[in-house]
Amino acid sequence: MATAVQATVERENYLNVDYSLKSWLLTKDHKRIALLYLISITAMFFVGGFFAMLIRLELLTPAGDLVSSDTYNKLFTMHGVSMIFFFLIPSVPAVLGNFCIPLMIGAKDLAFPRLNLASWYIYMIGAIFALTSMLLGGVDTGWTFYTPFSTSYSNTHVIGTALGVFIAGFSSIFTGLNFIVTIHRMRAPGMTWNRMPLFCWSNYAASIIMVLGTPVVAITILLVALERLFHIGVFNPALGGDPLLFQHLFWFYSHPAVYIMILPGMGVISEIVPCFARKRIFGYEFVALASIAIAVLGFLVWAHHMFVAGISVYAALVFSLLTYLVAIPSAVKIFNWTATLYKGSITYDTPMLYAFGFIGLFTIGGLTGVFLASIGVDVHVTDTYFVVAHFHYVMVGGMVLAYMAGLHFWWPKITGKLYPEGWAKLSALFVFVGFNLTFFPQFILGYMGMPRRYHAYPPEFQVLNVLSTAGASVLAVGYVLPMIYFVWSLRYGKDAGPNPWNAVGLEWMTASPPPTQNFDVTPVVTWEAYDYEHQDEEVSVGH
């Protein structure tokens, strides 16, 4: 290893093999496509973050003084659209999954490299549609596009935004399809299903949802656009249509979509916890199958978004019960990660800090989800900040922290450079404190009855709103810092070497950054995943 680092001629890798713009824009290398995605979704993250910042600034004072109520409607809509469809859904799968899955299973690339590149272009076209609509004046329907407001009454750019979401949906379908085929057919010799890293399992489960769910929301959004253009009346009650049907079709995708977002994040945590506890994951099979169980059960709970929309009490009862069931596989994962920590030799590197943050915040987000699954509580807090806080605990406290954890974990592999550990720990602290300060007050606000989606509120809610806005600015620092030190590390970071964490996955057995073909020799796998005890024994014997 030492000799390789000191070699005078720089080893050829996927980054330095060709510097031309064309070699990036026409690349079929999954690693380069992952970086294209990384740049695009980071841009969309900051677009969504910008809208969030304006929302929090407006809510600093009880009066609606910074923006008009119409503008406020647009702000939270565009925040939701950019964050959900253009950041959270592609985040872990399209960036980290794209980069890591072929490496983890010992393959040269994904099964369909050209389709992979096409999916990025499709994503970009969708993003351009959405961004153009925002620049032209935005959209105010909420990210859910509820009918008949979206089809008949809103005077904003619904069609452009809806088409953007529709188009971006196909990029997610193609990514999911690519992952499923890759995981089935491209595994290296000896890489059986039960030896596969859990990150692959959870991305596989998320891919199932992408492939089965996304087409349904695609056709739904297409019908919304048709209804707006031709007044076909499918969702407009004034024309005999049924707006509840829209909600059913929309949530049939959009509820499972939260599992598209969270499952790959859980996969990241399943990689990091064993590595920094130096132990095999507790109950591998249970964690793997819990991913599949979440994907399957996730398809059967969508109407819990509609408890107050006028569905029958019996339907509500069934959906409430099924929603409780999803908590079981999610809790299995939490228990297994915690059990993995037990008697482990834990180190607190940045990825592990984020992973700890994930476990705690996801637990709070998940448990409040169980509150909301019970119809009585849900009716009480529907459309309040309690719901807002709940899904931000899952999506930001869970998913974004997992994404940050993964980014810090695999950054040395992606770039071959180490980031400054001190700064990274500091920003992890900023994110954790800032996040809780932003969203915990919203649980209280919601329980006290502050409704979501209004730009003004009674003065007695101000203290908690000021806390929330203060937290948001701390959180913003926590997001900007990594941007700076990641870019800094590209030039000034120390060389990482192939395996800075002493981790056992196949991706750590090749150089950092990996060569274009990933492995010089196709690896043959003869060991179980997360074989840390064994590896550490070998290392200590070797010394």
């Binding site: 399809l177 499923i180 057919r185 695609a218 019908l223 031709f230 007044h231 076909i232 009346g233 079709l249």
Partner: protein, 208 residues
């Protein structure tokens, strides 16, 4: 090579699953509204030209036969026959779209297109709300229109493999594009096999 073929075919099957879900949303909407506005849906489907629909069904089944035979020819290295059969498939596909165009034209001149100009004569006689019949026609246009779009894409794909096939791109060792386009073609055919009874047949009254 064998593994590559299986991989791309596996990918195609998965893609067809997404297509089923895509059309599934529309089928679901159809079933919901048919249950809600049963009489209006009966009145709407009375106006369908059952003979044009039946002819189109036959045309599509024939096109699937020629497509299947073309795939077989690709397997057994009969290049010339494969090209001829694919051209026949394109011809059947175009015939389907032509007949569909005649039907669309009829609906159009009869104001059976959703929107401000929608009219449905005989709504009073049938005792139904024309607005609800409009939903039938909205779904009719959306479902058959989306199907026609798939047919056009299918004809484009077949044209592509005819050109590549005539140049000798395929052999018994490598014919997965032919096989995959064939799978797609059969799928689009099968969608029509469901659309035809739902939109034309099941609400037809005897002697109506």
């Amino acid at each position: 090579m064998d593994q590559q073929r299986e991989t791309s075919t596996f990918g195609m099957w998965l893609f067809l699953v997404t297509e089923i879900m895509f059309f599934g949303g529309l089928f679901c909407a159809y079933l919901v509204y048919r249950a809600t506005y049963y009489e209006a849906f009966v009145a709407g489907s009375q106006t369908m030209n059952i003979w044009l629909g039946a002819t189109n069904t036959a045309v599509l089944i024939c096109s699937s036969l020629s497509m299947a035979m073309a795939v077989r020819c690709a397997q057994t290295d009969k290049r010339k026959m494969m090209v001829i059969l694919l051209l026949i498939t394109i011809m059947f596909g175009a015939a389907f779209l032509g007949i569909k165009g005649v039907e669309y034209h009829e609906h159009w001149v009869n104001h059976q297109f959703p929107g401000p100009n929608f009219q449905f004569e005989g709504a009073e006689a049938a005792g139904v709300n024309p607005q609800n019949v409009q939903i039938y026609f909205s779904l009719y246009w959306a479902m058959t229109g989306l199907h026609a779009l798939h047919m056009i894409i299918g004809i484009g794909l077949v044209t592509w493999i005819v050109i590549a096939g005539a140049r000798g791109a395929y052999s018994p060792d490598y014919y997965s594009p032919v096989e995959n386009v064939g799978l797609y073609w059969h799928f689009v055919d099968l969608v029509w096999i469901y659309l035809f009874p739902l939109l034309y047949l099941i609400s037809k009254k005897h002697g109506g």
